[in-house]
């Protein structure tokens, strides 16, 4: 495999965009951030790949105009996944592995506030047997959390501790939309929202976009990158997997796909893990499936409980992990992304710091 490193990352997250910006208006400032941060231009990018959802946008072909943000000519080598942009990153990483490109820019975007998100996501279920019942995302998460309590896997204090730790960390994250710190007592004093979950156990509905540049170790133009003093965040393991969808055939306390992705990517020795857990109890499931030991720093960014921009939140986790490598806070870190109801599909990207 070619060594590929994360060399640039930019993000915007907010509770609701003012007005109704289209994806170009969302992306242009983020790409501008990347050009300014890296010193690279469009000409340095060999492949472009994005992640978004038509249903979130409420229209067909919603990603088509996004390429306006790239610029007109020349035409670009470009692709799109109807998935979180973490999987677009995977496609870009593949493209570099084939040798067809030496660098890539990956982006994801979504305006979650445009519809009742929890109801929209019910459209991800089996259309013949499940969707007609409209089981929404929060209610499904509630069932999962309840199961864990009844089987003694966790209790409400354990969930509140996840929330309090996340919210304390998120207070220092300028991109978080929930920036007020909470204590365990604060959380437990909240009324129930979807029994046994409280509002702060559930990720906030978040609008946002994110973009990342990756490059092969032998990519031309690396010497022109700004921040050459930065420790390079080189991807050492990258894998994903999916479980069956039907809730009735899954053990909701497990996520075999997260386990498989973690094993394939190699999670041992990570010091920082940015986990995409939109509900507090899901972090506990993921810690176990990814075999993270107790002293791993989980979600120093505050994680999805502080901001969860659909279709870029997974890429944001990977970008936040890379930032810990850049700053030399960690030598080995992982970013995780999830998709589908109750942790159905999972991706793990492990990276290591390497000197220039």
């Amino acid at each position: 495999m070619r060594d590929v490193a994360i060399v640039g990352f930019a993000q915007r997250q907010m509770r609701e965009f003012d007005g109704s910006p289209n994806c170009v208006e969302l992306l242009v400032p983020i790409l501008a951030d990347l050009w300014e941060d890296t010193g690279w231009t469009k000409d340095d990018i060999g492949f472009w790949c994005s992640g978004s959802s038509d249903y979130l946008a409420g229209r067909s072909f919603s990603f088509v105009t996004a390429i306006d943000a790239i610029g007109a000519v020349p035409p670009v080598s470009e692709s799109h996944v109807e998935m979180d942009a973490a999987w677009a990153l995977y496609e870009a990483w593949l493209k570099i592995q084939t040798g067809e490109a030496d660098s890539a820019l990956v982006y994801g975007f979504g305006k979650s506030s445009a519809s009742p998100l929890r109801r929209t996501l019910a459209l991800q279920l089996d259309p013949y047997t499940m969707t007609p019942l409209w089981p929404d995302t929060v209610s499904i998460a509630g069932l999962q959390a309840r199961l864990g309590m009844e089987q003694g896997v966790w209790d409400e204090k354990a969930l509140a501790e996840v929330v309090a730790r996340s919210r304390t960390a998120g207070a220092d994250n300028e991109h978080a939309v929930r920036r007020d710190p909470l204590t365990v007592e604060d959380v437990l004093a909240e009324p129930l929202f979807a029994d046994p979950l409280r509002r702060s156990d559930c990720a906030p509905v978040t609008d946002g976009a994110a973009a990342m540049i990756i490059a092969a170790a032998d990519a031309p133009g690396l010497d022109r990158l700004q921040h050459s003093e930065r420790t390079r965040a080189t991807i050492t393991g990258f894998a994903h997997s999916v479980d069956p969808s039907t809730l009735g055939v899954r053990d909701l306390l497990r996520s075999p796909s997260a386990h498989a992705a973690g094993r394939a990517a190699g999670t041992e020795g990570v010091e920082v893990a940015e986990l995409h857990a939109p509900f507090s109890h899901q972090e506990l499931i993921l810690r176990r499936e990814l075999r993270l030991v107790d002293d791993v720093s989980v979600n120093p960014s505050g994680g999805a409980l502080c901001a969860n921009p659909m279709f870029s939140a997974g890429l944001v986790r990977i970008g936040e992990a890379a930032k810990r490598i850049w700053s030399s806070e960690a030598h080995r870190a992982l970013g995780h992304a999830t998709s589908g109801p109750a942790l159905q599909q999972n991706l793990v990207c492990v990276m290591e710091g390497s000197d220039q």
Binding site: D54, S79, Q97, T246
Partner: protein
């Protein structure tokens, strides 16, 4: 590190129909997948990853349907990806699947693309009002008809060239057991006599709306040998190019993204005279006139001369460069799968498995797809021999 060789070792298609009410979505996909696995002589156990493609989710009314399909398409416990690049998606999906092998990550990858338009209503799905955007209210035909008029004006092509394409593709479809439209007796005269829909595009020059799925198994060089496949379709080159819908001086008749993509493909595969060196092509032609337009865009003809290939019979099944031997998009159009069908039919030709619409001795075949407002292009060139 250099790119690993990859080849198509199995192809499967459903019968394309306006409404496949006899199967659910999982049933439709399995029809294509089971045929592809059988053709490749492998089972789900041999598959390392699954790549799914389809056009807008609003066409079926399910958000990211690959999630609920994961188990029935054999993806559970494996990596699964979902590609969506507008009309070119079937081609892009095949390219992503190929890259999983070419990167050295996997040995055998299953890829499937589909559309089951009868589950929802495509006109509704394409007509959702978008804030601050003026709706076109024209459908695809109304959108592309001005491009065709512009082509005819610029090239001076005789007005019956579109009808020649339509009659040829509908006749070719009669030789394809999976084709949707089986309109026997279609002639240039009958096409010209059909209803004008969007001047100059007539009813018989327009693609149908179909339910259907297409699947392929793509394997590494080692896996090809281990499977004992004697006639794989080796992937010689592949490309994707995209450009914005509008910008100053954009040529919508002969888009630069398509020209650049073709030029890259020919360079990558060492082809200097595509018309002579390529044996046949499956090209995305949803409205008849796009055959001569794409002949120019792809470099098979000089600008303004594509229609001469059609008029002279060069693109006929017995011509020097047969185009859309399967009947093409004009005869079967499950939108999200239409691009993959082009790629798969190109593979079938070099595998020598195209049946009644086989081109004798086809050694190199082009698969082509485009989408959006002629903005997104995906192509591959497959061959009966290993590249190089």
């Amino acid at each position: 590190m250099s790119k690993q060789l990859a080849a198509v070792i199995g192809v499967g298609q459903t019968h394309y129909r306006a409404k496949r009410e006899d199967v659910s979505m999982p049933g439709l996909l399995r029809e294509a997948i089971d045929r592809a696995l059988a053709d490749a002589g492998v089972t789900f156990d041999d598959i390392d990853a699954v790549v799914v493609g389809k056009a807008p989710d609003l066409f079926e009314g399910v958000m990211m349907p690959e999630l609920f399909l994961a188990e029935s398409i054999g993806a559970a416990g494996k990596p699964m990806m979902r590609v969506h690049t507008a009309g070119s998606v079937g081609g892009s999906t095949a390219i992503v699947a190929a890259s999983l092998v070419q990167s050295g990550v996997h040995q055998r990858v299953l890829t499937v693309a589909y559309e089951k338009q009868s589950e929802s209503n495509a006109m509704w799905a394409l007509s959702v009002p978008v804030p601050f955007t003026m709706p076109v209210h024209a459908g695809a035909g109304g959108y592309f008809a001005p491009h065709v008029r512009s082509y005819i004006r610029r090239s001076g092509a005789p007005t019956e060239v579109g009808a020649i394409v339509a009659a040829k593709d509908r006749q070719n479809a009669l030789k394809n057991p999976y084709a949707h439209l089986k309109n026997e007796g279609t002639t240039v005269e009958s096409v010209l006599a059909s209803q004008m829909l969007w001047d100059p595009v007539r009813y018989d020059e327009t693609c149908p709306s179909s339910d259907g799925a297409c699947a392929m198994v793509i394997a590494s060089e080692d896996a090809v040998e281990r499977a004992g496949i004697a006639n794989p379709a080796w992937i010689h080159g592949q490309v994707m190019r995209s450009e914005p819908l509008t910008y100053a001086e954009r040529d919508q008749v002969n888009p630069r993204a398509g020209r650049d993509a073709a030029a890259y493909l020919w360079k990558q595969t060492g082809i200097t005279d595509p018309l002579r060196e390529v044996d046949c092509a499956e090209v995305y032609v949803p409205f008849s006139w796009f055959e001569p337009m794409w002949m120019e865009n792809l470099g098979f003809a000089e600008e303004g001369a594509g229609w001469k290939l059609t008029e002279s019979g060069t693109t006929a099944l017995d011509g020097d460069l047969p185009v859309n031997m399967s009947g093409g998009v004009l005869s079967s159009n499950p939108i999200g799968a239409s691009g993959m069908i082009r790629f798969a039919e190109a593979a079938l030709q070099v595998m020598g498995e195209a049946g009644e619409h086989q081109v004798d001795g086809a050694a190199r075949a082009l698969g082509h797809a485009y989408g959006g407002g002629s903005q997104f292009f995906a192509m591959w060139l497959v061959g009966s021999e290993k590249p190089g």
